[in-house]
């Protein structure tokens, strides 16, 4: 296990390096630079600005400078937000986004799995079709539509929850719900299919032939095997949720990370682009690592040490 973790750590760092390299050169392939603006900046000032941020040096030199700083944990200054380091911005946005994402994930996964199980057990019954309908709705209706509806119903009409902004646990509920809808839909559909597949397996018949009660057959023999595919997609899903979403955070006026992903590219804020990308990749890679370990615990056929 220790040896495996060490090996994985190596590949994780390698992956991260590849991501940084590709992002760096792609980013510089975009026409223009952070200081291209509607306002014409005098040439001397532009030169000074570029010199300040080291953008006047050859690309390769810039690349190695960035790598060197990255190894020291320095993500650099933002080129657009004055006097703010990228690390600083991530540090202030991430806890907010993570809190929202965690709430949405927890809600989405439990509800999704629960609905999927119930639907599979009620195969071709009313509830089964109800869940399928719900799943189609959840996947095809965009998040912002749910957001607006929830804000109107539960925020304005009923007044149960604050319409927007951030601060108390009450503020988390509406955006988390809106964000979790798609996840419920996705997980429910997936769990349902997986359950139906497992219920048709021979070993379920063996379990029944042992005289086990229906609930034991479902709980002990079906769900544990059916949940494997869900665990697989959990890594990327959670990574995406944790690092914030542009649309939901915008609609609910939540000071999360989401906006930086979009704005940094629009403004060609080089250090911020790299910073958010590195951050997202690191979390994604780490989540996948966690999932692999969880997989090994649930499914004995997967041996991590080998």
């Amino acid at each position: 296990m220790f040896k495996y973790t060490l090996k994985r750590l190596g590949t994780m760092i390698l992956t991260l390096w590849v991501v940084v390299t590709i992002t760096f050169f792609l980013m510089h392939a975009i026409p223009g630079d952070p200081f291209t603006d509607q306002k014409r900046i005098p040439a001397e000032i532009l030169e000074n600005l570029k010199a300040k941020y080291g953008l006047d040096k050859p690309l390769v030199v810039q690349y190695f400078t960035y790598l060197k700083n990255l190894l020291h944990g320095d993500l650099g200054m933002s080129l657009k937000y004055k006097n703010r380091t990228v690390a600083d911005m991530l540090k202030s946005g991430f806890p907010v986004s993570a809190q929202l994402g965690l709430a949405a994930g927890l809600f989405g996964i439990t509800m999704g799995i629960l609905l999927g199980i119930v639907a599979a057990l009620n195969h071709k019954g009313f509830f089964d079709y109800f869940v399928i309908l719900l799943a189609i709705l959840g996947v095809s209706v965009p998040n912002f539509v749910f957001s607006a509806l929830f804000q109107y119903w539960f925020g304005v009409k009923l007044g149960w929850f604050p319409v927007a902004r951030w601060g108390t646990p009450y503020h988390v509920i509406l955006p988390a719900w809106a964000l979790g809808m798609r996840m419920i839909a996705f997980q429910a559909r997936m769990m349902r299919t997986s359950m139906l597949d497992v219920l048709n397996q021979d070993y379920i018949k063996t379990a029944k032939a042992k005289g086990l009660s229906k609930s034991v057959v479902i709980w002990r023999h079906t769900i544990r095997n059916a949940i494997l595919p869900i665990v697989t997609i959990l890594g990327p899903t959670i990574a995406t949720l944790l690092t914030g979403t542009f649309v939901i955070e915008k609609i609910f006026a939540i000071p999360g990370l989401g906006k930086y992903y979009i704005q940094s590219i629009q403004q060609r804020d080089y250090t911020l682009i790299l910073g958010t990308t590195v951050f997202y990749s690191a979390i994604l890679i780490f989540m996948i690592f966690l999932v692999d370990i969880a997989y090994g615990l649930i499914d004995p056929r997967i041996r991590l040490d080998r």
Binding site: K210, L212, S213, N225, I298, P300, R301
Partner: protein, 340 residues
């Protein structure tokens, strides 16, 4: 005729499946019985209703779409057809056990072998975990798996195919059931392992006095294990008798066909294997007459019109065939003649 040794009596069993295309009559009036300590083989080709019959006894067919339309399954004096799901739970695994065709898929891949044996013991025999584990180790040893204490801690993927089928037998026999139903237990195994599993079943039967229903399409498999044989075709029993009756004095042309398609080692001149040409009938609309008539070399006009009544050849030997009628032409029995 009724006696205390009778363990299971299936009478006039009809099982159908309701599908979108209509009703599939998988089993159409089957009668047979199993005595204590006896091995009964149910033989027939794919789709003849033998597995459905077996699974109906344990009520393991999915209902719906399946349903037992008619008939009774008297086990130890009680009619299982009338049992509720809850009542069946105390029959399954305790009174009647089952092993399946494919040992590779019949064990739960995420549960230790020992635990899979223990489950039934804890449920049916009120054992503590510790007692159940000891019993599980005992069972693993009984079915001839070496190193039992270590093996119970392993998962199915660490077992070979033959070992898994042994483990299945251990699960099935853990609670000392009165009846073991083996649904093609050796079909998925290679030949040497087949023989080992059959020997094991035979040995355990002698030791534990369990009755066995062996379902198979391979007459070679039943030859040395079955006391009596029931031959099924298109959801009906067309011939039944002792092992000797079926192998040495078969009366139904379908049974002849089955025997002629089994390769023999003792054949002096190299006989050709004779296949049974054609397909079994569609069970959406089973024929009114003898279902085998369309493929039978000896078919007469009457065969297609009326189903033949049961003819008693000897005490235990019955056949449904118009050739037994006094007005039918005498035909040469290829099995009896061929053995001379």
């Amino acid at each position: 005729m009724e006696n205390r040794d009778r363990l299971l009596e299936v009478k006039d069993l009809h099982v159908s499946f309701d599908t979108y295309a209509g009703e599939v009559k998988a089993v159409r009036g089957v009668d047979f019985h199993v005595d204590k300590g006896e091995t009964l083989a149910i033989v027939g080709e794919s789709g003849c209703g033998k597995s459905v019959t077996a699974q109906s006894i344990m009520k393991l067919i999915p209902m719906p779409p399946g349903r037992i339309k008619k008939g009774s399954i008297i086990f130890d004096g009680k009619d299982l057809v009338k049992f509720t799901d809850k009542q069946m739970e105390s029959v399954r695994g305790r009174e009647i056990s089952m092993i399946f065709q494919d040992p590779m898929t019949s064990l739960n891949p995420t549960m230790k072998i020992g635990k899979q044996i223990m489950e039934g013991l804890i449920k049916h025999q009120n054992m503590t975990k510790k007692e159940a584990k000891e019993r599980a180790i005992e069972m693993i040893k009984l079915v001839g798996i070496p190193n039992p204490a270590k093996r119970v801690e392993q998962y199915p993927h660490e077992f070979s195919g033959g070992m898994r089928q042994r483990a299945m037998i251990a699960i099935a026999l853990a609670c000392n059931p009165k009846l073991l139903i083996a649904d093609e237990p050796t079909t998925a195994l290679d030949v040497t392992i087949q023989a080992q599993i059959l020997d094991l079943m035979k040995e355990l039967q002698n030791r534990l006095n369990t009755s066995i229903i062996m379902i198979t399409h391979d007459l070679g498999v039943v030859a040395n294990i079955a006391h009596r044989i029931v031959v099924m075709y298109a959801g009906k029993i067309i011939e039944s008798g002792t092992s000797d009756d079926i192998f040495f004095n078969p009366q139904h042309p379908y049974t002849w066909g089955l025997l002629q398609s089994v390769p023999r080692l003792d054949a002096a001149n190299k006989e050709k294997l004779v296949p049974i040409l054609g397909q079994p009938p569609d069970l959406f609309k089973p024929p009114v007459g003898c279902p085998f008539a369309a493929r039978c070399d000896y078919a007469m006009p009457v065969c297609k019109e009326y189903y033949p009544e049961k003819t008693q050849i000897s005490e235990k030997h019955h056949v449904h065939c118009w050739l037994q009628h006094e007005m039918a032409p005498k035909v040469k029995n290829p099995i009896v003649e061929g053995r001379r």
